[in-house]
Subunit: 217 residues, 2 copies
């Protein structure tokens, strides 16, 4: 009984996500869903990515947080369209919340929309929002045991960004083990080792993202 | 409608949590619920705490993970009773899951039970399990903006352990701001700055914990 209720919620969500996706596709808009634990570096990645690409790519952002608008304020400083969703307690974004933002954007003037999910390595992976693909960040201080403990997000994502690699000398973390465990769960993951602080590794991520945008157009 | 369903689930959980708590109290067993983001250091804190206290305190552990038994295996090496709960997808432990472990323990031979929750800064704070109090860890790399973005866990916890302070020289993190933001949400928080890696600050945490155990007996 409990399981069937959950299944109905997920099915209803998937249906709305498909409708969102159809609208994004009609407008030639590429969307990715950005997920991670709290503090892994989602907003920092967005700031860097906007700085690097905004002369060639028209970017917009949806910020998901339980409460506060700190992340939207950070993104607004980059002078790109941004909408803050406050979930009021919910630990993930769903397709309906995304649809409720549509009147705030002019899709035809955009190439890329990033949905920054609530910081949570569990539930966001279960709820599609209409995205083309999912991108997850795992930061080095979280440890190399995370792929086997939180497998769904690794399974569902197309990209794994391993962030904060500048901290490697100060951590007892085995980055190769982290990568091999993630790839064991999802061999199709595109893995990039990055530092949003130093900029290391970000060029490869930008190049990959631009390639996807070109393929979508 | 949706809200009333959630309320019923929480009420049913609270009732079972009260029953659990009554059983713990009858047996003079102190229980705390340990919560944090993934990778903030819950299991490392437990390893250190067991090493420091196990000659004077009879400790047991319930490990909560979506899947895998890596944490229980780490704790089992410390030669204390440990039970692993696999939630199979659920992002938090609830009171019923805890009750299902009772036949695995002999409560009269124990002074302290620690329930290590699923790594998640959101949902675990909503579900009581029968604990005397909640302890949360926030690790320095997660950043000083977390209290205002994930307020419920700070509000519900009695103790905030700020972990990984050995990384302070390498992070652009303001630990005083982190503390003041947490205390603004919950002025009663007992805050300890610790490093499970270097051992810094842990003596104060052990002393506090022993004081609570003495008061409970």
């Amino acid at each position: 009984m409990k399981i069937s209720v959950v299944k109905n919620i997920l099915e209803a969500n998937d249906r709305i996500a498909q409708e969102n996706r159809a609208i994004f596709d009609e407008n030639g808009l590429m969307v990715f869903n950005l997920m991670s634990s709290p503090g892994a570096g989602k907003t920092s990645l967005l700031e860097k990515t906007i700085d690097a690409l905004k002369n060639e790519v028209r970017i917009s952002v949806i910020e998901g947080d339980i409460q506060s608008s700190q992340d939207a304020e950070r993104i607004a400083q980059k002078d790109v369209p941004v909408v803050q969703i406050n979930t009021g307690g919910a630990c993930h974004l769903d397709a309906n919340m995304i649809r409720d933002t549509f009147d705030k954007f002019n899709f035809q003037d955009l190439d890329l929309m990033v949905v920054e999910n609530v910081g949570n390595l569990v539930c966001p992976a279960e709820f599609k929002v209409g995205e083309d693909f999912k991108v997850m960040i795992l930061s080095l201080p979280e440890g190399e045991d995370k792929p086997s403990k939180y497998p769904l997000m690794f399974h569902e994502s197309s990209v794994l960004l391993i962030n904060k690699i500048d901290l490697l000398p100060y951590l007892g973390c085995d980055i190769e083990l982290m990568k091999s465990r993630a790839l064991k769960i999802n061999p199709d993951l595109n893995v990039f080792e990055i530092s949003c602080k130093t900029g290391e590794g970000l060029e490869e991520w930008y190049a990959w993202l631009k390639k996807q945008l070109k393929a979508k157009r």
